[in-house]
Symmetry: C2
Subunit: 240 residues, 2 copies
């Protein structure tokens, strides 16, 4: 059993940066350390697989990596079994999770990442599906997956694109904090709120906060805790 290698980005786009640019150095180090040459990209969260894969290819190729889209493979399960590294992109989390279930990829990806140590990169929806469940996605439920249970590569939930409440708004829809607390009310489980520009790097049993902003942890008792960049977040990996 090889230790897991997981890089979970809040988002691929951050204000002031090109696509994935904010995480370039960290992602390059993550892939190079593991001698990855080719990344298998899973574009299922968006509707135009070719266009999305092209965007990722155009970004990672200049960094020195080859990108292949899983949709271009005749056998997606075989493609995952042979992949050097997986990148699951963002879009709609419900669409993505349903596609992973429909293609019977959930157990295969889980086994490759947790047992064989194949590097996994997720952004936004790709981060949601890497966690316990998609109960803490921000996305609109445009399609009905067979379950909200996800890949469970880490034993807790993440809220990507985490956004602090805006005290000046006149809008009466729930704030992100209220929504996350509705989840906690139901499940009594912690949720890591990853602001745009941040990511969680998991290497075996060590988890580290990456990026230039704090992350906010929502605790099962509804209290909150802020964590600074580079914080050791390994305690999140203990099963509760």
């Amino acid at each position: 059993m090889a230790p897991r290698s997981i890089f979970l980005l809040s988002s691929s786009r951050v204000h002031g940066y090109e696509f994935l640019e904010h995480a370039k150095e960290h992602l390059k180090e993550f892939l190079s350390k593991r001698k990855v040459k080719t990344v298998l990209f899973i574009p299922y969260a968006q509707s135009d697989y070719n266009k999305y894969t092209e965007l990722v290819e155009n970004t990672l190729k200049p960094w020195g990596y080859k990108v292949e889209g899983i949709h271009a493979k005749s056998n997606p399960i075989q493609a995952v079994l042979q992949a050097e590294a997986l990148f699951v992109g963002g879009g709609n989390t419900f669409v993505l999770l349903k596609a992973l279930y429909d293609a019977n990829l959930i157990p295969i990806i889980r086994e490759r990442v947790l047992q064989k140590g194949i590097p996994y990169i997720g952004s936004s929806a790709g981060t949601n599906v890497a966690t316990l469940s998609i109960h803490t996605t921000n996305d609109m439920p445009v399609t009905f997956p067979p379950s909200f249970e996800a890949l469970r590569l880490v034993p807790f939930n993440i809220n990507p694109h985490y956004l602090d409440p805006d005290a000046t708004t006149c809008h009466k829809g729930e704030t992100r904090d209220e929504r996350i607390n509705e989840f906690i009310e139901y499940h009594k489980k912690q949720v890591l709120g990853l602001r745009e520009g941040t990511a969680l790097l998991v290497e075996g049993d060590i988890a580290t906060l990456i990026g230039d902003r704090n992350a906010k942890l929502f605790l099962p008792n509804k209290e909150q805790a802020e964590f600074a960049p580079n914080s050791d977040m390994s305690f999140l990996l203990n099963k509760t």
Copy 2:
């Protein structure tokens, strides 16, 4: 078969008003015209049923209506069968829909409203569940209902708390318009975006936009149309 009487509010809270105050005159007219004395309130979208029912009671009692909470009844199905009017409140749409399925209330409410003409008031999540499906809710999917299909009291989808895109934001999460267009990409169905302060009144085959703001209709071809207050929206009731 009595004609349907349905009042679907975007939200119960609007900036500058007390709970439901913005719709007071319209709601009073809606209930009085139908000689309603007692409203059966369904608080399932929130976790504290008693507190939520008390809020509605404290609001509607001064207007001249008695309020009963369905959770205080020994037999919820019987309560709906005997109700003079139903009010389904907001909170979390997933929690609400699951509770309606768990209590086997979906066919009963549908039959009472569509066949017997029992007045139905919904706000926010209570509006989502009155439509074709909850695919266009803004809420976090904190629990997994057996289906996203809803009461189908009207043959289209609504997005409550509809919020225009903010051109000044640095946040890269999807705008509401992008989310609604993800739904349309999948379903090729129209979605009525109801801004806070607006509502849709349906009386038989006549639908009217209520409130002091426009509503935005998202068309199956992804075009958009704005409708002014008091617009005749009856075309939405034609099954497509």
